[in-house]
């Protein structure tokens, strides 16, 4: 019985190991060749947003303009216990704008904006 229990634990560890090593924010940048700043921003987005919902929900958001992400993230930031501070919200916006609109989207946000 004890052997079976340890075998179960070993199986779970092995399965977990199969999923290790992939940067958590990669789902938001795949195929985009992001600069290091955006990689970090998307890692932050993956850590914060996945508290309440799967990260992939971000891929399905219907956002028509880079500036829309600002209000979108701000609304999410104010959900109860979101854990997203205002500076972090600005960083997450940069990840999502890059994901949706590429480098051109980021430049359209302008200097000093999120």
């Amino acid at each position: 019985m004890r052997t079976e229990r340890w075998a179960g634990v070993a199986l779970l560890v092995a399965i977990a190991a199969c999923g290790a090593g992939e940067p958590p924010g990669r789902v938001l940048t795949v195929g985009r060749n992001p600069p290091p700043e955006i990689v970090d921003a998307c890692d932050l987005a993956s850590r914060r947003c996945s508290r309440c919902h799967p990260l992939e929900r971000l891929l399905l958001a219907h956002v028509s303009a880079p500036g829309s992400w600002v209000m979108y993230v701000d609304r999410m930031r104010h959900q109860p216990e979101s854990g997203i501070t205002e500076p972090e919200g600005r960083t997450i916006v940069r990840c999502l704008v890059f994901h949706s609109f590429g480098p051109e989207g980021l430049s359209s946000l302008g200097e000093g904006s999120p």
């Binding site: 992939e22 992939e56 929900r57």
Partner: protein, 377 residues
């Protein structure tokens, strides 16, 4: 209170000044199609809503500007179409947010991720069960079915400290649960069906306080406490009090969650309790006019590639007198053991598979298998 009203008015004025060109509309939704089999029963419909169920939600979020938004959400599930959200959010600061309309008041941790596309098991933990547990009629569902949707006002906010450490609060006044005069427990059907009106002219009040401690870059430990108090009958004679405590430990992508809910519900003894209730009076010759229902769940959730695994242990207990017709006793318990996995088929579309074992104190033990498909759009 006047100052709060002025702050809210100022935020609205600022939003109006932002101009109509900032209006943004976002549509989102989710679907879960689930099949629940009870291999230990020939005809499980007698004790459960088994078979296929669909849970659909469609939400429209409108950002009027940086400080104000509206959310409207329509849900379709076992009850048919219902309005799950219809509220305005007015954000004055991180520490002060007003939510007015129809919403789920802040209570506990699970309701934050009650959407089937946001949690990994097919069903909800027993304290939050809304009719998918076995023997839901005998138990009258969980302690506080989720999502609890109600009309009212909530004031909430967050104070951030150093990285990832924060204190969240929420206080609210809502219509509250309902039942007829002379009730013995909440009537959950009446509580979510028309008329969407307060049945007793008294608000139910509640609140929540949660502290999150940052542990490194992406690990946190959160401790929360919630409470709700009011009357639920039309005559304001029957009081209830619900308390809750929750602990969430997040280590990178691994979650360990534990919650405990307890509800003390007063009931109407009527003119002749000896003909209504199974058990007689206590040593003092008096009948208790309340029962206590509590429940817990603890679960471990961890991802592995396209898989997510969940191990959950949850339970319910009811202590107190019961109607003569009830199969429950003065103290009844159900414990449930769940093993679940999800597989991400595409983006956030997931296959959900889980097995559950029910250990009842008053009924034969049962097994359940869930197979479902869930995802947002």
């Amino acid at each position: 209170m006047k100052r709060l009203a002025w702050l809210g008015a100022a935020a609205l004025a600022a939003t109006a000044a932002a101009g109509a060109d900032e209006l943004q509309r976002n549509f989102a939704g989710s679907i879960q199609a689930d099949y629940m089999a009870v291999p230990t029963e020939d005809v499980a419909r007698k004790i459960a809503f088994d078979g296929a169920t669909i849970e659909l939600s469609m939400k429209l979020a409108i950002d009027f500007g940086p400080n104000t938004s509206a959310n409207v959400k329509v849900c379709y599930a076992c009850h048919g179409f219902e309005v799950g959200m219809a509220f305005f959010d007015i954000r004055v600061a991180d520490q002060l947010n007003f939510r007015v309309g129809r919403f789920s008041p802040s209570f506990g941790e699970f309701p934050l991720r009650h959407d089937p596309a946001n949690h990994r098991t097919s069903d909800k933990p027993l304290p939050y069960d809304m009719g998918r547990m076995l023997r839901y009629q005998e138990w009258n569902e969980g302690v506080l079915p989720a999502p609890w949707v109600d009309n009212g006002l909530e004031i909430s906010g967050t104070q951030y400290f150093r990285k990832l450490t924060q204190l969240d609060y929420a206080v609210y006044a809502i219509m509250g649960p309902k039942a007829n005069a002379g009730a013995l427990d909440f009537d959950f059907v009446q509580s979510h069906t028309p008329y969407y009106l307060d049945n007793n002219s008294r608000p139910t009040v509640g609140g929540r306080l949660a502290f999150t401690l940052g542990l490194g870059e992406s690990s946190t430990a959160s401790l929360g406490a919630s409470g709700m108090y009011g009357t639920y009958d039309p005559d304001n004679k029957l009081h209830f009090l619900i308390g809750g405590a929750d602990l969430v430990l997040r280590l990178e992508t691994v979650f360990l969650r534990a919650e405990y809910l307890i509800r003390r519900t007063q009931f109407d003894l009527g003119a002749s309790p000896q003909t209504t209730f199974r058990y007689g009076p206590g040593p003092d010759g008096k009948y208790d006019d309340y029962f206590v229902k509590d429940g817990f769940y603890t679960e471990l959730e961890f991802p592995a590639g396209n898989f997510d695994f969940v191990a959950r242990w949850d339970g319910l207990r009811r202590k107190g007198n019961v109607p003569i017709s009830s199969p429950l006793r003065s103290e009844s318990i159900v414990l449930r053991y769940t093993g679940a996995l999800t597989y991400r088929v595409w983006q956030a579309l997931r296959i959900k598979l889980s097995g559950e074992f029910y250990d009842f104190s008053d009924f034969p033990d049962e097994a359940v298998i869930h197979l479902g498909l869930a995802g947002p759009f």
